[in-house]
């Protein structure tokens, strides 16, 4: 079906971006009402080629152009205590995202308490989920350290569950001499109503649907000495229920996912060192005999260094490791139980990358991944698990524009 509609959506997105850009060039200012109203956005296209397996479309031994991101956001500071913000996003990502325009976030931020020592407030609406250091701006290429975020923690395939939630978030910030301490607690409805959210949990072609309870999300962040170091702890709890469809072989099962993330970053003038570690407790129950039920602890971590060679050039080196079950790191038990390849249960990814900021608005990136395991690949792009290859490389080129 969707070649036409996908093409139409992409064209619409590009046209939208084009209009905004030409307006920008024509008027040279998107700050209206004395700067209280601001409009910003970005557009990005990535070419992906893999030696085996598919990532973001048909990339196996060919070049996939099915990864693009276009976003526009507006914010309006109504009073010093009140800000209204909204962001639209169109994202194409192989079989997992079709480029349909959706509300990425839309919220009212009210900070009734504010003094020179700190502030406190509440955000209401669709709120970006605080999850590690990068999640709240995960689809904005300029804010990422690399073309794709470390997949062990920022999965592309299960992104919909943690991208944003509809609800409220209270936050407190304290501006101390040594640094800023922030804490936020959100309670909201994750987005589970798409195939992209359902497939990574229950697999392809399931007739049922996935519902989520309201999910709590806590983050504590300390940014020391002018952001020279940042330490964070995140705890999230997702409780999902599967409602079987007509003639479904699966029963009414339940997923409980409780990721805990520890994050640390050190920023010197010309280099940064970042590491995040996640312990992901997963409990799968009541799906019946035709599914992998059980409770296990997933483990993820990465260590990443970036170095600014010149003000415009930055190099990246990263090691990223993902294990679906830390008591079955090589996936042997899983393979014996399911007859699926054990290497689908882990992924170890060495990444090198280069960033070139041609201008502050225009960025080019190149990146290579050398991967052992397929733990983060999407079933939509790789429908037959028996056809997956354990060792594969991935090369990407990205051009991004922002205003």
């Amino acid at each position: 079906m969707c070649v036409c509609s996908r093409f139409a959506k992409t064209t619409a997105s590009i046209a939208l971006a084009g209009c905004l850009l030409s307006w920008h060039t024509a008027s040279h200012a998107l700050d209206l009402l004395d700067g209280d109203f601001q409009l910003h956005g970005f557009a990005s296209l990535t070419l992906v080629s893999t030696t085996d397996n598919n990532l973001f479309g048909q990339s196996d031994n060919q070049i996939s152009k099915d990864f693009s991101e276009v976003g526009v956001n507006a914010s309006w500071r109504l009073t010093p205590a009140l800000q209204l913000s909204g962001g639209l996003l169109s994202r194409r990502a192989g079989g997992t995202d079709d480029g349909g325009v959706r509300l990425d976030y839309g919220l009212l931020d009210w900070a009734p308490m504010s003094s020179e020592g700190g502030r406190a407030g509440i955000r209401m609406g669709r709120i970006k989920t605080a999850y590690g250091l990068y999640n709240t701006t995960r689809d904005v290429p300029f804010t990422r350290p690399s073309i794709i975020l470390p997949q062990s923690i920022y999965f592309e395939r299960t992104r919909n569950l943690t991208v944003s939630a509809d609800g409220a978030e209270v936050y407190v910030e304290r501006f101390g001499e040594g640094g800023t301490l922030s804490a936020s607690f959100a309670y909201g409805q994750p987005q589970t109503d798409t195939e992209a959210a359902k497939v990574p949990l229950v697999g392809l072609d399931r007739p049922g649907k996935l519902d989520s309870k309201l999910a709590p999300d806590l983050q504590i962040l300390y940014e020391g000495a002018g952001n020279s170091y940042r330490l964070a702890f995140t705890a999230l709890r997702l409780d999902l229920k599967y409602q079987p469809g007509y003639r479904d072989i699966l029963q009414a099962g339940r997923f409980r996912l409780t990721p805990l993330i520890f994050s640390a970053q050190y920023n010197a003038e010309n280099w940064s060192l970042t590491s995040e570690y996640a312990l992901r407790r997963t409990s799968i129950s009541d799906f019946g005999p035709y599914f992998y039920n059980g409770t296990f602890n997933g483990q993820s971590y990465y260590v990443q260094g970036t170095y600014r060679l010149t003000p415009q050039w930055e190099a990246l080196l990263r090691y990223d490791a993902f294990y679906a079950d830390q008591n079955d790191r090589d996936g042997k038990d899983f393979a014996a139980a399911t007859r699926l390849p054990g290497f689908t249960r882990f992924a170890k990814d060495w990444t090198v990358g280069l960033r070139f900021d041609v201008t502050p608005q225009f960025m080019l990136r190149a990146e290579a991944h050398f991967v052992d395991g397929t733990g983060f690949l999407a079933a939509q792009d790789n429908p037959n698990p028996q056809a997956l290859r354990r060792y594969w490389d991935n090369f990407m080129l990205q051009a991004s524009f922002r205003f």
Partner: protein, 117 residues
């Protein structure tokens, strides 16, 4: 580099932590409830780099990343970028609640200099 503010601002000094919160676009109000209006020079100007590193004690790229994170998640806004020191002085002098920075030798009598403690 010195921090300058609109002449009607009551303070004559502020803690560095508060200045960082204001330039980080997290603190939007002066104690008297006047809205804060932040003016900066472009990232690549030597004045901005010197101000960031020696007065604010934040690397300019870290400041930029902090703004980006807030703007693209709906949690904040960018400061207004001013083209020149002359314009900085004029805008700070004429905008209630304004804060900015200039070289100490360029301060004019119609703005208030804030000491950082």
């Amino acid at each position: 580099m010195v921090v300058i503010a609109h002449p009607a601002i009551a303070e004559d000094s502020m803690p560095r932590a508060t200045l960082r919160a204001i330039l980080g676009m997290r603190l939007q109000r002066w104690p008297g409830e006047t809205p804060v209006k932040v003016f900066v020079l472009a990232d690549e100007t030597p004045e901005h780099a010197t101000f960031s590193k020696s007065v604010l004690q934040v690397f300019p790229q870290q400041l930029r990343m902090a703004w980006d994170r807030q703007v693209f998640s709906g949690q904040g806004q960018y400061p207004e970028v001013i083209a020149s020191t002359q314009e900085m002085l004029a805008r700070v002098a004429s905008t209630p609640g304004a804060i900015g920075y200039v070289k100490a030798s360029e301060v004019t009598p119609n703005v208030r200099v804030l000491k950082i403690r």
